[in-house]
């Protein structure tokens, strides 16, 4: 493969006390593609995702060693300005966590952090990102209402709009459709396919069909280890490892 490698992870180990959550992770994720991290529940997928924008910092029990290079910079190095760095990565979590403010301010908050100051400019961008997330038509008359009044599916799209508004190069998504209805899920998947031209997307899921539908590159994990990685066609049609075959065959999940 000749793609640029946006995220390079080498020798990543994560411990929680004596328990090792991630074991010697070595993966390279291609730029402007959808990488799906696949594996059964409890295999460390979410932890791996949280390492990438150092949300692991919030958990005192976690100890992280190794290297994560994003566009060449090692983000685990203490000196990195972690707040700047996180702005380059949008996050979609399993269930949406809108900010406790109005719909409008949910988007404007990130814009202000990004340094957009003029009111008119902010308004223009709020509209733009709400349109991007296909939410504008539903909320244009209620921008000043609290975000908590939206349905779960709408909240997840608001979170997507909010994430895009800080202008990230990378989107990290942790089973973003698991709490959503089929239509919202389909919409999010569709959006990812559109966004991958401009964004590097890392999606955690345990849904095989979802992975097959949208992945370009697949990383299969089991019990904290990367078992196999490669192009989606290679992994799904011609898995090399026994574990991968069993998982894809539905023997365990």
């Amino acid at each position: 493969m000749t793609d640029n490698k946006k995220i390079q992870i080498s020798d990543l180990n994560v411990f929680a006390g004596k328990f090792q959550i991630l074991k010697n992770i070595n993966i390279e994720l291609p730029e402007n593609k959808i990488t799906v991290i696949l594996g059964p529940s409890g295999c460390g997928k979410t932890t791996l995702l949280k390492c990438m924008n150092r949300l692991t910092d919030l958990y005192p029990e976690l100890r992280v060693t190794g290297d994560i290079r994003i566009s060449g910079n090692n983000i685990l190095a203490a000196k990195e300005d972690i707040y700047k760095l996180r702005q380059h990565m949008g996050l979609l979590s399993q269930r949406p966590y809108p900010l406790p403010m109005t719909i409008y301010n949910n988007i404007a908050y990130g814009l202000k952090l990004r340094g957009v100051k003029k009111r008119r400019e902010i308004h223009k961008l709020v509209v733009h990102y709400l349109q991007q997330a296909n939410l504008w038509e539903e909320v244009k008359h209620r921008l000043r209402e609290p975000a908590s009044r939206l349905s779960i599916g709408q909240q997840q799209r608001l979170c997507l709009a909010r994430g895009l508004a800080v202008n990230p190069g990378i989107i990290l998504a942790d089973e973003p459709t698991s709490a959503l209805d089929p239509i919202s899920s389909q919409y999010i998947e569709q959006k990812f396919l559109e966004l991958k031209n401009e964004y590097t997307i890392v999606l955690v899921t345990h849904v095989l069909r979802q992975a097959r539908r949208i992945a370009d590159y697949v990383v299969f994990m089991y019990l904290g280890e990367v078992i196999e990685q490669g192009d989606v066609h290679e992994v799904f049609e011609n898995p090399k490892m026994e574990k991968t075959k069993l998982y894809l065959g539905g023997t365990f999940n």
């Binding site: 949280k50 924008n53 949300l55 910092d57 919030l58 005192p60 707040y83 700047k84 996180r86 702005q87 990565m89 949008g90 996050l91 979590s93 269930r95 966590y97 809108p98 900010l99 406790p100 403010m101 109005t102 908050y109 990130g110 952090l113 990004r114 609290p146 975000a147 908590s148 009044r149 979170c159 909010r162 994430g163 800080v166 990290l172």
Partner: protein, 285 residues
């Protein structure tokens, strides 16, 4: 459900009902007796005048000095305690997130000093006044009461801040907010109704306590006019009127207690309304 389970359920249900109604009845009796004894002495005069000479032996006048004094003192102390307490509570919950043991230790200390009787704060305040060269005054009272209500202010805000879910914290950080933005823009907004409750609790404690202001704020028949002059407070006013040998003055003590209760009632209704207004934006999980 087996029969044993049914009986067990019945017993516990009855116990809970008894406990709940017992406490309600006790509260009702207290409020009823204050009301019954207080309402007949409550007059326009008592609310709008200061004590005239011989007030405590049955002459005319009112308790405006104590009403205004208590309001100045309680508002001052609550404001000061809030300005100190909110940053402490946010610090424990946002900045000490990786240092859970330090946070636990601070919480333990606060719980410990929460239990110290208010007279000890009064004595400490008095020592502090001598050290600072302050006389009994509104200022000394405010400082002492602030110290006295700080633990309850911090711990009740802390408990509500602890309910902010990790997911919301992660959402804030992943947008690139730093810790103080997460603290002041996200945490406070998510918990605003709880923070208002914390302020109300502290205010109730501040306005209702007698022992901490006894040596520090002093007492006077004049209206509060300077931070450096003594002020009257309602709890002490009630105490002095109850100590009077004249039954009519003792009745006025109940009227004063009624005023104190009404102040707390008004403030809590007001803050509830305020809390409701801001509650809407809270994200429910």
């Amino acid at each position: 459900m087996t029969l044993a389970q049914k009986i067990e359920e019945k017993i516990f249900k009855v116990l809970m009902i008894i406990a709940t109604y017992f406490i309600l009845v006790v509260l009702a009796i207290i409020i009823y007796s204050i009301f019954k004894k207080g309402i007949k002495s409550l007059s326009w005069e008592i609310l709008t005048q200061i004590p005239k000479g011989g007030y405590y032996y049955g002459k005319g006048g009112g308790i405006l000095n104590a009403i205004l004094g208590s309001l100045c003192l309680a508002f001052g102390a609550t404001l000061l305690a809030f300005l100190i307490g909110l940053p402490v509570a946010l610090y424990i919950n946002v900045f000490l997130i990786r240092w859970k043991k330090v946070a636990a230790f601070i919480r333990f200390l606060l719980d410990l000093i929460w239990g110290i009787p208010s007279i000890v704060y009064g004595a400490f305040g008095f020592t502090m006044m001598i050290y600072l060269g302050l006389q009994t005054s509104l200022l000394a009272g405010i400082i002492t009461v602030t110290l006295f209500i700080l633990p309850i202010m911090i711990r009740s805000m802390d408990e509500i801040l602890r309910t902010v879910p990790y997911g919301l914290m992660e959402a804030s950080y992943s947008l690139g907010s730093n810790k103080s933005e997460t603290a002041f823009k996200i945490f406070t907004r998510q918990t605003i109704s709880g923070i208002i409750t914390a302020i109300l609790l502290s205010f109730g404690r501040a306005i209702g306590d007698a022992a901490s202001v006894l040596f520090t704020a002093g007492y006077t028949d004049h209206l509060p006019n300077s931070l450096l002059e003594p002020v009257a407070t309602l709890p002490l006013s009630i105490f002095f009127q109850l100590s009077s040998p004249v039954p009519a003055v003792q009745d006025r003590a109940y009227a004063s207690a009624l005023v104190l209760t009404l102040i707390i009632l008004i403030v809590s209704l007001f803050s509830r309304g305020l809390g409701k207004r801001y509650h809407k934006t809270k994200i429910n999980f």
